[in-house]
């Protein structure tokens, strides 16, 4: 007994010394692969020695039993603190009971040496069975290796049992393996871009390398279409990850595979795995990019291996969203969910469609719409062609219109990821390069900056397709997703929100203080290259610059009117508020899968409502005064030098809302129009655009003005989406209408633009009676409404100090605005301010009214309510 204990002690010491040597060699520069091999052979020696000792005690080990290494140990990949998986394989004749003590003893000895051992005992026949519940065993068994014992028995396993098992259950094993892989990836948000990745289990981790190996093992017929370059890249990635895992094991002194921040710093400080001088330290963010590059090649290699499986063998869930009916689009087609680019028509490289930016962008549009992926050869060709695509690329409106199509596609996130991997996104938007795989450390973020951006875009698209929540889901995440989703569906320009989302963090790539400001500064150049109009680009820039405002306001008391007032002052317009609300929702969600709690969503919604209400109710009282408007006057008069006094006079008395929602250029236009009123008392400014056209009238205030404008627009079949009417101290009104062109009159026929403006002008001057214009109008066919909106008429005397606020909520029908404004005029009420908005099928019209310069009396309000309801009913018939 004494003797055996001392041998045990010696053995332990020896083994531990050996482990220290291996560690020393690794720290002196030995590769990960060499380290694994060294630990494997040390374990092999130990196990064989223990077996031989056991065999001396127990003669039953002599035949009918073999000892196998399986799993990572079977592959000879024992990381410093990995478990050692042993299989005792038994012939049918052998009784397990007779071996129990020997097996226990071997296990015990190994534990005493500090090895975490997992022992399994199986009869040969049991190895042939595959069960979905314990697929892990079969998978581990695929990496079997004989350590010692009955060689004949082992040969039966490796030459008969295993081939039979694979032959019979190949599809089940494959399905289960892919399912397990998918579940594992889902646990990590299906992305490899984590700030602190688990380098074994994350997508692009070591486990993916094994899965790729098993797929190849299971499918012997698999076409090996991997190019030498890709294979070399893959081998390098394997080598790198092995080194990192050894490094982590030694650092943590256990099987902990999380590449946390401290470990990243340590690895970077010694340039682990970086070509060149090992003593030279590198920046941790730079080192992580190297990690991500390797992880990406592993992810890609696995993806390819899965694609190479014959379709019958692919797990359905892996391809569900991609396998659609083949589509064709001229230069490329979609087959089995993959984009296949056609050859150049004449065979000459000069006509290769891969060099044509239009074709290439169309490919990404198709990907954003359908979720298809790039075929291998296509990806290769595009990657080769980047330089030529860049040279042929036309910027400006054509690029923006294609980029918009990509951004609004339901699978935009994946299309953008594919563009990013290929380098195509950086080609279009070099500003994005700075945040490529960028790790910014804070306690909350889970993903790298670029991946955070894509997750954010995924979240917004997810909202777009969220169905209306049922009663059961109230208070849940689903309810909030459905409420915010409704808000998103009503945005007039969703592409601007997506563009803003794509750019919001680009400033993080530069080490300046305020990344929001920096992102906005960087975006300015891109917006100019894309040729966005000034309204759109101002909107995008303000959103980027203020993208943290709502989150920071949420940390204050959102039930305090002062908080809401200050926040409203920053967002200024309902459109910006709506976009910022949606952005904030998605931004919180993209930080971390659990970050957006129903509690946060509810607070966000409350702040949104309170601010939206505030914006509508505060308009009348917050007017440009002689004093406080100095900055505004400065901005506008910079554009019209020498007329500072006249500009100040023009602006005085306008609601601040007017000034805040217009660019200085627009205000200059209105100012110039007001200057021309002496010659002609009706000034019109018409801006045509395919989506929303805008018409502004500047004229002295008078009765029926608003009613006649809305009537004239409706006679032309124009559907007013938003409108506002403001007046200054001198009674000059600026009424602006943004509308869609129901009959596409203006779109089809540019010569009609002039006739359109002339007829509006004639109505305004009185040359053409509005009734005559209306009698000739085309009736708009009325579609049955999807949502029925009950009309509501509300008065509020508190919102303004000198006028009564009227809010009308109604079904958005043609002629509604005219019906309302005619009723107001008929009652002798004056519109001080009008704010007209539409949300889906709901019209929300806010009017600030006075009657002979005073608020409306209760009696007048009652009469007006009845008349308005009647007018709406009449209009709806």
């Amino acid at each position: 007994m004494q003797a055996s204990e001392s041998t045990g002690g010696e053995r332990r010491n020896l083994y531990q010394r050996r482990m220290l040597e291996i560690r020393g060699a690794f720290e002196a520069g030995a590769s990960g692969t060499a380290t694994l091999a060294a630990r494997t052979s040390a374990a092999d020696e130990l196990v064989s020695e223990l077996w031989r000792e056991a065999a001396q005690r127990n003669p039953r080990l002599a035949a009918g039993v073999s000892l196998l290494a399986i799993g990572g140990y079977g592959r000879r990949e024992l990381f410093p603190y990995s478990d050692v998986d042993l299989l005792f394989l038994l012939d049918a004749k052998v009784n397990e009971k007779d071996l129990k003590e020997s097996i226990r003893r071997i296990g015990q000895e190994m534990w005493d040496c500090g090895i975490r051992v997992a022992q399994t005992v199986r009869k040969l026949a049991e190895c042939e069975r595959f069960s979905e519940e314990n697929a892990e065993f079969t998978v581990a068994l695929m990496d079997h290796r004989l350590l010692i014992g009955d060689a004949g028995l082992y040969a039966r396993l490796s030459d008969e049992t295993m081939p039979k098992l694979v032959e019979r259950d190949r599809d089940r094993i494959l399905d289960r393996l892919l399912e397990l892989t998918r579940e594992r990836h889902a646990k990590y948000g299906s992305t490899l871009f984590h700030l602190e990745p688990n380098i074994k289990d994350c997508p692009g981790g070591l486990r993916d390398i094994h899965v790729r190996g098993w797929l190849k093992m299971l499918d012997g017929t698999m076409a090996d279409s991997v190019t030498a370059a890709h294979e070399a890249e893959f081998r390098q990635a394997v080598e790198f990850l092995r080194m990192v895992r050894c490094f982590l094991h030694y650092r943590h002194e256990r099987d902990d595979n999380t590449l946390d921040w401290q470990a990243q710093d340590a690895a970077a400080s010694m340039s682990a795995g970086v070509a060149g001088d090992r003593d030279q330290s590198v920046d941790a963010a730079y080192w992580m990019r190297i990690y991500f590059r390797h992880a990406r090649s592993i992810e890609r290699a696995l993806k390819r291996a899965i694609e190479d499986l014959p379709p019958r063998k692919r797990a359905k869930k892996f391809t569900l969203k991609r396998d659609r009916v083949p589509e064709t689009a001229g230069e490329f087609r979609i087959e089995r969910g993959q984009v296949i680019l056609g050859p150049s028509p004449s065979g000459s490289p000069g006509e290769d469609p891969a060099h044509d930016p239009d074709v290439v962008l169309d490919i990404f549009i198709a990907m954003a719409r359908t979720g298809c992926t790039l075929g291998r050869e296509t990806e290769e060709r595009l990657s080769q062609a980047l330089g030529l695509i860049s040279a042929n690329l036309e910027e400006g409106t054509p690029l923006w219109s294609r980029l918009q199509e990509i951004l609004v596609g339901p699978q935009a996130g994946d299309a953008l990821r594919a563009m990013h991997v290929l380098g195509m996104l950086e080609l279009l938007i070099p500003e994005f390069h700075g945040i490529d795989a960028l790790v910014i450390r804070d306690a909350y973020h889970r993903y790298t900056v670029d991946e955070h951006t894509f997750v954010l875009i995924d979240t917004l698209h997810g909202l777009e397709t969220t169905p209306v929540a049922s009663k059961l889901e109230w208070g849940s995440r689903a309810e909030w997703a459905s409420r915010f989703g409704a808000l998103l569906r009503e945005l007039p320009h969703p592409a601007l929100l997506y563009l803003m989302a794509l750019l919001h963090d680009t400033g993080k790539g530069r080490s300046t203080g305020d990344h929001a400001e920096e992102s906005a500064r960087m975006a300015r150049g891109l917006l100019a290259r894309l040729d966005l109009d000034s309204y759109e680009s101002e909107l995008v820039l303000s959103l980027i610059a203020s993208h943290l405002e709502m989150s920071s306001t949420l940390r204050r008391d959102i039930f305090d009117a002062e908080t809401v007032r200050a926040f409203a002052g920053k967002v200024q317009t309902p459109e910006l508020l709506r976009m910022l609300t949606l952005f904030t929702y998605a931004d919180i969600n993209a930080v971390h899968p659990d970050a957006l709690t129903p509690w946060k969503a509810e607070n966000l919604w409350r702040l949104y409502i309170a601010t939206a209400n505030y914006l509508d109710r505060s308009v009348d009282d917050e007017r440009v005064g002689a004093q406080e408007a100095r900055e505004l006057v400065d901005r506008v008069s910079a554009l019209v030098p020498d007329q500072r006094a006249a500009v100040a006079e023009f602006l005085e008395g306008f609601p601040e809302r007017y000034v805040l929602t217009r660019s200085p250029e627009q205000i200059r236009t209105h100012f110039n129009m007001s200057e021309r009123l002496k010659e002609d008392r009706v000034q019109l400014d018409f801006r045509y655009a395919p989506a929303f056209s805008e018409l502004t009238v500047v004229t002295p205030d008078r009765a029926l003005l608003f009613a006649n404008m809305t009537g004239a627009l409706s006679a032309w079949g124009m559907n007013i989406v938003t409108a506002d009417a403001f007046s200054n101290r001198k009674g000059i009104v600026v009424d602006s209408f943004r509308f869609t062109d129901t009959f596409r009159t203006l779109e089809m026929n540019s010569s009609e633009h002039e006739r359109f403006v002339k007829s509006i002008y004639d109505v305004m001057t009185g040359a053409m009676p509005i009734e005559k214009l209306l009698s000739g109008r085309r009736r708009v066919r009325r579609k049955a409404p999807k949502v029925v909106v009950q009309p509501r008429v509300e008065f509020n005397d508190e919102a303004s100090s000198h006028s009564t606020l009227l809010e009308v909520i109604a079904q958005d029908l043609p002629g509604l605005l005219r019906a309302l404004s005619l009723t107001l005029a008929a009652h002798g009420h004056n519109i001080e301010v009008a704010l007209v908005d539409t949300e889906g099928e709901t019209a929300i019209d806010v009017f600030y009214l006075t009657h002979e310069g005073a608020k409306l009396e209760k009696k007048q309000q009652r009469a007006l309510r009845a008349a308005l309801l009647e007018a709406m009913e009449e209009n709806a018939r």
């Binding site: 940390r555 204050r556 946060k600 509501r792 929300i844």
Partner: protein, 112 residues
């Protein structure tokens, strides 16, 4: 050892955290909560739809401190969370029998 549970206005969380850290309490648990006491909810009307707020958002903060720290911690919370209006929240204090650090099994005050 005693446990202090404080239900406070979410907007006061940063101030309370800072005040506690200042007196040497750096470990705390924070929960998003909803509730109401005397401060009842209200109704917001937004674009013709009514949204009632019956339960107001609150933050619940839990700390466990040594007996001699209790008074200082409570004063710090009150000083930083008070606005003097309804809805400022409440503090509850209870005895704690044992504290155990999971990592190394340390017990008692040393585990705090």
């Amino acid at each position: 050892m005693q446990k202090i549970e404080a239900v406070i206005q979410p907007s006061k969380l940063d101030a309370v955290k800072d005040a506690l850290v200042e007196i040497g309490v750096d470990g705390m648990t924070i929960l998003e909560a909803r509730g109401h006491g005397r401060q009842k909810g209200h109704t917001e009307v937004y674009r013709g739809r009514e949204y009632s707020v019956d339960l107001l958002p609150k933050v619940k903060l839990e700390i466990v401190v040594t007996d001699e720290m209790v008074d200082r911690a409570v004063s710090a919370i009150i000083a930083s969370a008070r606005t003097g209006t309804i809805g400022d929240g409440k503090i509850f204090i209870s005895k704690i029998d044992e504290a155990i650090r999971i990592r190394n099994d340390e017990r008692g005050e040393i585990a705090l």
